[in-house]
């Protein structure tokens, strides 16, 4: 007699409980994996994790630093979430972030120190978004009009952007470079009026901008005609076309929006904590970490906010580990593990495992009849 042991079948809609439980479980599982490696190399996981929590949340300085790191992550997380939901695989958040930083610092330097803050801050914001969107368009346009796969193009653009930034500071005497420092090339500080006001240690108003953008994104997607059309395209491009929705235009729009979010993150980072186009303070992997944020937040724009804080905490806690002799790369490992478990956990959200109903009459004895 043949009987299946269990049946895997798609779930209609996962309960809210499950959609929160699975991401939490992903984090927990990642912590276990990290603990194993820590133990293998002679460190006490509990001590390490406690140190990380203390650093990230234990005092007001730690808390503010966590939120400082969270600010760009909210935006790069949004960038990934918005794109991935449409099956637009924009993995170029790194490069778009850097171009946003370049554009923002550029406009600040170009407009100069006489600019009043009322013009300076919007300029920085717009320039950042513009830089990211423009960089994304290099991949978006071939994707939309030629069908060129965006995974590779956005990926390559990351490295081009990195080298571009290095060129501007290390490879040339560009306006971005600080003329005052001759020993080691570094970025020229942008004028004060372009800097975001700090209000809690190093935390600046950028975080409010980031949260506001997240809420706007949510509104766009769920309460506007554009958002509805985007959702239809993301579900079934054929259906969208049939309904008269311009699929290329929607994909382009989402792709550019995604780039704009990442670029804005770069702009706020430069106008905020860094204050100049400083390669060492900019090449921090916010783009890829944003993908982790998006995955853990299950591509939901509002959920991105708390998840970004969690990632910010991890980022913040990393460097301090050196003081207790633990390689800070454990943070990268944890983040990678979180992503693996988060994406693996999608399986349990989308599917359900159950036992088949077996008819009462069937018993093994009948098989030999």
């Amino acid at each position: 007699m043949t009987t299946r042991r269990f049946i895997i079948e798609p779930r209609g809609l996962a309960s809210l409980r499950l959609t929160i439980l699975i991401p939490l479980a992903s984090v927990a599982a990642a912590l276990v994996v990290g603990a194993i490696f820590l133990a293998l190399t002679g460190d006490n996981p509990y001590t390490v994790y406690k140190h990380m929590v203390d650093t990230a949340f234990g005092n007001s300085r730690g808390l503010s630093e966590t939120l400082v790191s969270a600010t760009p992550l909210i935006l790069t997380g949004l960038a990934a979430a918005v794109a991935f939901k449409m099956l637009v695989w924009n993995i170029g958040g790194e490069g778009q972030f850097l171009l946003g930083a370049i554009f923002s610092s550029g406009i600040a330097i170009a407009m100069g120190s006489g600019t009043p803050a009322a013009i300076a801050i919007p300029a920085v914001i717009i320039a950042g978004a513009l830089g990211g969107a423009l960089w994304a368009s290099i991949a978006a346009i071939p994707r939309v009009y030629l069908g060129t796969n965006e995974i590779i193009t956005t990926l390559m653009l990351n490295f081009i952007a990195l080298n571009l930034m290095n060129y501007l500071i290390f490879g040339s005497k560009s306006p971005w470079r600080d003329p005052a420092v001759s020993t080691f090339p570094s970025g020229r500080p942008i004028p004060e009026s372009f800097r975001l006001t700090e209000f809690f240690k190093r935390l600046d108003v950028g975080i409010f901008i980031a949260v506001a953008v997240a809420l706007v994104a949510w509104f766009l997607l769920s309460r506007t005609r554009w958002g509805f059309e985007v959702r239809v395209v993301g579900d079934s491009a054929e259906t969208a076309r049939y309904a008269g929705i311009s699929v290329p235009r929607k994909i382009l729009g989402v792709f550019l929006l995604s780039g704009a979010f990442a670029g804005l993150a770069g702009g706020l980072w430069v106008a905020g904590p860094v204050g100049a186009l400083d390669p060492r303070s900019l090449d921090l992997g916010f783009g890829f970490t944003g993908i982790i944020v998006a995955a853990l937040a299950r591509l939901n724009p509002v959920a991105v906010i708390p998840v970004a804080v969690l990632m910010g905490a991890l980022n913040n806690a990393g460097p301090s580990l050196q003081s207790i002799g633990v390689p800070p790369e454990i943070v990268t490992m944890l983040q990678g593990a979180i992503l693996i478990f988060a994406v693996g956990g999608e399986f349990f959200i989308a599917n359900r495992i159950r036992k088949p109903e077996v008819s009462a009459a069937a018993t093994p004895a009948e098989a030999t009849a």
Binding site: P142, I151, F159, I330, T332, I340
Partner: protein, 319 residues
């Protein structure tokens, strides 16, 4: 440019190209099964650190190579499980693997009471034939053909074997069938899941080997990231090679040359040496994008294109 510069450049191209060949051919095999593995960078790093560690502890290069391949295969099994059994997004799973692998390799290199960082390798892959041993003394051809370490020759073997495997063997046909149309392959009696698992792991093993080449032949000591962006470049090379192993050799050597070009230009003096290294460093990536746009759009895609089922999760009991 005098002869020795040319030879030096070709040498460097082949040396830098060799790990790319391994990683690219490995990824070609994986993608031919229909699985996109963006975890190549992480896998190579895992291979690099584990191979270095094995050789460091035992003094055996063979063991180092074997360990790096096993480590690569096991590491890529995570991606295989996520992509084939759980059928979740291959792109995200691959990226996760790279992030984790990058962190893991750096961590293992720095961790413990006796970290590997900065330690010189106990053994390194050296050229098979040294100067003064007859064949290697032939002008130009001598060092070029005979003056390499053994892995460079192995790379050619791997590419040739992969090519033959793909197009002239039964398993290769099953592999291609699975990558083009897994449902049809399944009904023809091919075990799609098994084929995919096996070839993701083969790809992982080759990526691990590619990573080990960096730590065991190219860099004298362990450093935090010995491979640069090699894993990412390999992913692009797969496309430039149209998923054909022999073309991967050509593409890999081309990129190796591009890496080396900066140094070569320096020696030429003005105006060549004025070109900033950062601009030159961009070149491989720019080329990849241009090639992608030109080669994969329009009619050419049908013949030079990707396996039809690449990146699409396969559901066996689909209604």
């Amino acid at each position: 440019m005098n002869d020795s510069q040319l030879i030096l450049t070709i040498f460097a191209a082949m040396a830098l190209g060799t790990p790319l060949i391994f990683a690219t051919v490995g990824e070609i095999i994986t993608e031919r099964a229909g699985i996109l593995n963006l975890g190549v960078q992480g896998t190579m790093l895992v291979g690099a650190v584990s191979g270095f560690w094995a050789t460091f502890e035992t003094g055996s290069l063979v063991l180092g190579v074997v360990v790096s391949m096993i480590a690569g295969a096991v590491f890529s099994m995570i991606h295989a499980f996520a992509s084939i059994t759980l059928r979740v997004s291959q792109i995200v799973s691959g990226l996760a693997l790279t992030i984790f692998g990058t962190g893991l390799a750096s961590f293992l290199g720095k961790a413990g009471s006796d970290p590997l960082v900065g330690e010189p390798s106990r053994e390194q892959f050296l050229p098979l034939l040294r100067a003064g041993t007859g064949l290697a003394d032939l002008p130009v051809a001598g060092p070029l053909i005979f003056g390499h370490d053994i892995l460079i020759y192995v790379a050619w073997l791997v590419a040739g074997a992969a090519s033959y495997y793909l197009f002239h063997t039964r398993m290769g046909l099953s592999l291609r069938a699975v990558g083009e149309d897994p449902a049809s392959a399944e009904s023809a009696g091919v075990n799609v899941a098994w084929v995919r698992y096996a070839h993701v792991m083969i790809g992982g093993a080759l990526a691990g080997l590619g990573g080990a080449y960096f730590s065991l032949a190219l860099t004298p000591t362990w450093v935090d990231n010995p491979i640069g962006a090699a894993g990412w470049i390999a992913i692009a090379l797969v496309i430039l090679a149209s998923w054909r192993p022999w073309r991967a050799v050509f593409a890999a050597y081309l990129f190796g040359a591009a890496e080396r070009v900066q140094f070569t230009l320096q020696t030429l003096g003005e105006p060549w040496s004025d070109i900033p290294s950062t601009i030159l460093a961009m070149l491989p990536f720019v080329l990849a994008i241009v090639a992608m746009i030109l080669l994969t759009s329009g009619k050419r895609a049908r013949f030079l294109g990707a396996p039809a089922a690449l990146g699409i999760p396969y559901f066996r009991e689909q209604r």
